[in-house]
C-alpha cells in the first residue's frame, strides 16, 4: 500500500503538487494571495484604485474569498483604453517580457511579465502538460506561433520545465511539420485544433497515416472547438486530444487544462480565482450552473487583472475528478456571452439554435436569427435556407421539414419561435461568414 503511494508520487511532477492540495489548504492559499494581489493592484494600478475608491472599498475589506465580489470588474476595453502600459503595476526594469494580442479591431492589448510571473507561467504550463499525460522523455512539437502571441513561448517554456524535449517548429509549413513529426519521432504536438485538422488532411495527401507515427497526444487550444471535433481527431489519428484554455489577458495558455479523464478542464485555482456569474445580473451562479467566467489573477505581479470578464460561458464541476487532482474543473467552453440575447425572459445563444438545426440536418444550413419588437413584445425569427437535401416537392414534405426544425428549436430553447424557410443564398454572407443575429429591436 505504502509502496504504491510512493510509486504514484514519483509519477507526479513536483510542479504539479498544487493540483493535489487539500481543499482547506487551497482555499487558505487563495485567500492569502487574493488579499496580497488586491493590495498590490490598489497601490500600483491607477484605474483599479480609482474604481475601488469610487465604490468605497479598501483592500482590507477582503476578509473571505467571497469578498472578491466587492471588487470592480475588468473589461477587455480597460486593457485597450490603457494601451500600452497603463495597467503595469511594476517599474519597467522589473518587466522581463511583453506579449501582445493581435487585435482584430483597433489597438492590440499589451501584457507584461516579471521574472516571477514567467516562473508562474512555466509552472502552470508544466501542470498543463502533466494533465495531458506528458513527462520527461516526451518529444513535444510546438506548432503554436512564436512571437507576440503567448501560445508559442508559453508552451515552449512549460515543455522545457517539464523536462521534455521541445521542437520549436512554430506554426505553418505543413510538409515540414509532417516530416519532422515522422523523422524526429514527436510524441506530442501543440497547435490550434483547426491547424491539426489541416495537418491530418495534409498527411493523408502525403500518404502518411498518423496511426503509424509515435505521436500520442495533442495539446489543443487558442480557439473554441467541439466534442465532435475531438472525437473526429482521436478516431482519425489514434492520439489523445487534450483541450487547454487560456487568455493572453490572464497569462496565456495555462489557465485550465483537460486531464487524461477528459471530463472538463482542471482550473489552476491556486494562481487564478474563478467565479461564475450571471452574464446579465452579475449574480454569482451555484456550482454546476452556467454563467460567465470571471478570472482574477492571484499571482501575477507585472500586470494583475482583477475580476476579468472573459465573456466565456461555462460552469464549475464540483465533483472530484477520476484522475485524483483536487483542483476543480470547468466545462469545456463552447459559447460566449457576447452572442447571448434574451427573448421573452429566456437566455438564447445562437449555438443552441445551431445545435437544434444540426439535429435535423446533417450539415449546418445557412441560417440567421432576426429579432424584432412589435407591440412591446420581442419576437425572434429563425430563417433557414432550404437545401437540395431538405427540399421535397410536396407541400406536406416541406411542411414536415419546417415542423421538425421548429420543434427541435422549441425543444432546446424551451420557447417556440417563428421559423421561416428561405431560398438559398438569400442570407447575406460577409467575409465568408454569415452574420448570425440581426437585432432590429429599437428601444
Amino acid at each position: 500500500m505504502h509502496a504504491q503511494w510512493n510509486d504514484r508520487e514519483s509519477l507526479i511532477h513536483p510542479a504539479s503538487a498544487p493540483d493535489y492540495l487539500r481543499e482547506e489548504q487551497l482555499r487558505a492559499l487563495q485567500l492569502q494571495r487574493l488579499r496580497a494581489i488586491t493590495r498590490h493592484a490598489y497601490d500600483h494600478q491607477r484605474l483599479f484604485r480609482e474604481r475601488m475608491d469610487e465604490r468605497g472599498v479598501a483592500p482590507e475589506d477582503i476578509q473571505t474569498l467571497e469578498d472578491v465580489r466587492k471588487l470592480p470588474f475588468t473589461q477587455k476595453t480597460d486593457l485597450r483604453d490603457t494601451y500600452p502600459y497603463g495597467l503595469f503595476a511594476v517599474p519597467m526594469n522589473e518587466v522581463v517580457r511583453l506579449h501582445a494580442s493581435s487585435g482584430t479591431t483597433g489597438k492590440p492589448i499589451v501584457v507584461a511579465y516579471t521574472d516571477e510571473d514567467i516562473e508562474v507561467w512555466k509552472e502552470v504550463m508544466v501542470r498543463t502538460f502533466a494533465c495531458a499525460g506528458l513527462h520527461s522523455g516526451d518529444i513535444i512539437q510546438n506548432a503554436y506561433g512564436y512571437g507576440l502571441f503567448t501560445g508559442g513561448l508559453g508552451a515552449h517554456y512549460g515543455a522545457e520545465a517539464l523536462g521534455a524535449t521541445v521542437i520549436p517548429i512554430s506554426g505553418g509549413n505543413s510538409e515540414r511539420q509532417i516530416m519532422v513529426m515522422r523523422d524526429f519521432g514527436s510524441t506530442a504536438i501543440c497547435s490550434t485544433p483547426s491547424y491539426f485538422l489541416h495537418l491530418i488532411e495534409y498527411a493523408e495527401s502525403m500518404g502518411i497515416d498518423f496511426n503509424d507515427l509515435p505521436l500520442r497526444v495533442g495539446v489543443f487550444g487558442a480557439e473554441p472547438w467541439s466534442d465532435e471535433m475531438r472525437e473526429y481527431i482521436e478516431g482519425k489519428t489514434g492520439i489523445k486530444a487534450i483541450d487547454i484554455y487560456g487568455l493572453s489577458e490572464i497569462i496565456g495558455p495555462g489557465v485550465a487544462s483537460a486531464c487524461e479523464a477528459q471530463e472538463g478542464l482542471h482550473i489552476f485555482e491556486d494562481h487564478f480565482l474563478f467565479e461564475i456569474v450571471h452574464p446579465v445580473t452579475d449574480e454569482p451562479m451555484p456550482d454546476g450552473e452556467e454563467g460567465e467566467l470571471i478570472i482574477t489573477t492571484l499571482s501575477k505581479k507585472a500586470m494583475p487583472v482583477m475580476r476579468y470578464r472573459t465573456h466565456d460561458i461555462t460552469s464549475i464541476i464540483p465533483e472530484k475528478c477520476a484522475c485524483g487532482r483536487t483542483i476543480r474543473r470547468i466545462q469545456r467552453i463552447a459559447r460566449r456571452s457576447d452572442d447571448m440575447f434574451i427573448i421573452r425572459g429566456v437566455n438564447v445563444f445562437p449555438s443552441q439554435v445551431e445545435a437544434a438545426l444540426l439535429k435535423v440536418e446533417e450539415t449546418l444550413p445557412h441560417y440567421q436569427i432576426v429579432l424584432t419588437r412589435s407591440g412591446g413584445m420581442d419576437q425572434m425569427e429563425v430563417q433557414v435556407e432550404v437545401t437540395a437535401e431538405t427540399f421535397t416537392d410536396t407541400v406536406r414534405g416541406v411542411e414536415a421539414v419546417h415542423k421538425q426544425l421548429s420543434d427541435a428549436i422549441a425543444h432546446i430553447l424551451g420557447i417556440r419561435v417563428k421559423l421561416t424557410l428561405v431560398e438559398p443564398n438569400t442570407i447575406e454572407r460577409s467575409m465568408g461568414k454569415a452574420k448570425r443575429v440581426i437585432d432590429n429591436r429599437k428601444s
Partner: protein
C-alpha cells in the same frame, strides 16, 4: 411514360415567380405548363419544360433549389366524370394522389391531367389496365407545340 417535372422552392415574395419565368425565357427555355402550390409560408412551383436538365442547372446556378420528379400525364375526355374515373381506378389499386394539376393546352376533345402518385409504378399499371392513355414526353411536347 413517366415525365420529368421540375419543382422549385419559392419564398412568398412578390416578383419571385416573374423573375424565374424571365430567367427561363432569356435562356430560351419554353414552359409547357406550370402550377404553383402555395401556402402562407412558401410556394412550390412545378414546371414541365422540354430541356429539364438544362433548366435545373440554370436555376441552381441562379440560386434556386430545384428538383426533378416524375409525374404522369393522363389524357381524359373533357367531360364530367373524367377525373373521378382516374381517381377511382387508383383508389381501387391502393395508390393515392400526392398532387395533380391540369395541362393548360387541350388535346382535341380531351383534357390532359398531370399526376404525382405515391406509388408511380403501381399507378401506371392500374391506368394501363383500365386502357387510359398515358402521354409520353414526346406526345406532350408535340401537343404543346401544336
Amino acid at each position: 411514360m413517366k415525365l420529368k417535372q421540375l419543382s422549385v422552392f419559392l419564398e412568398n415574395k412578390p416578383g419571385r415567380l416573374r423573375e424565374l419565368c424571365a430567367l427561363l425565357a432569356e435562356n430560351n427555355i419554353n414552359i409547357v405548363t406550370l402550377s404553383l402550390a402555395d401556402t402562407e409560408q412558401f410556394g412550390i412551383l412545378r414546371l414541365i419544360v422540354k430541356e429539364h436538365d438544362k433548366a435545373k442547372a440554370l436555376l441552381e446556378e441562379n440560386g434556386f433549389v430545384a428538383k426533378l420528379t416524375e409525374v404522369l400525364a393522363v389524357e381524359v375526355p373533357d367531360q364530367p366524370g373524367g377525373l373521378s374515373k382516374i381517381l377511382e381506378i387508383e383508389e381501387e389499386s391502393g395508390v393515392s394522389v400526392e398532387y395533380m394539376y391540369a395541362f393548360t393546352i387541350k388535346s382535341g376533345e380531351n383534357a390532359v391531367l398531370l399526376f404525382r402518385f405515391d406509388d408511380m409504378d403501381k399507378a401506371v399499371a392500374a391506368l394501363q389496365k383500365a386502357n387510359l392513355s398515358i402521354l409520353s414526353s414526346a406526345d406532350l411536347h408535340q401537343r404543346a407545340e401544336g
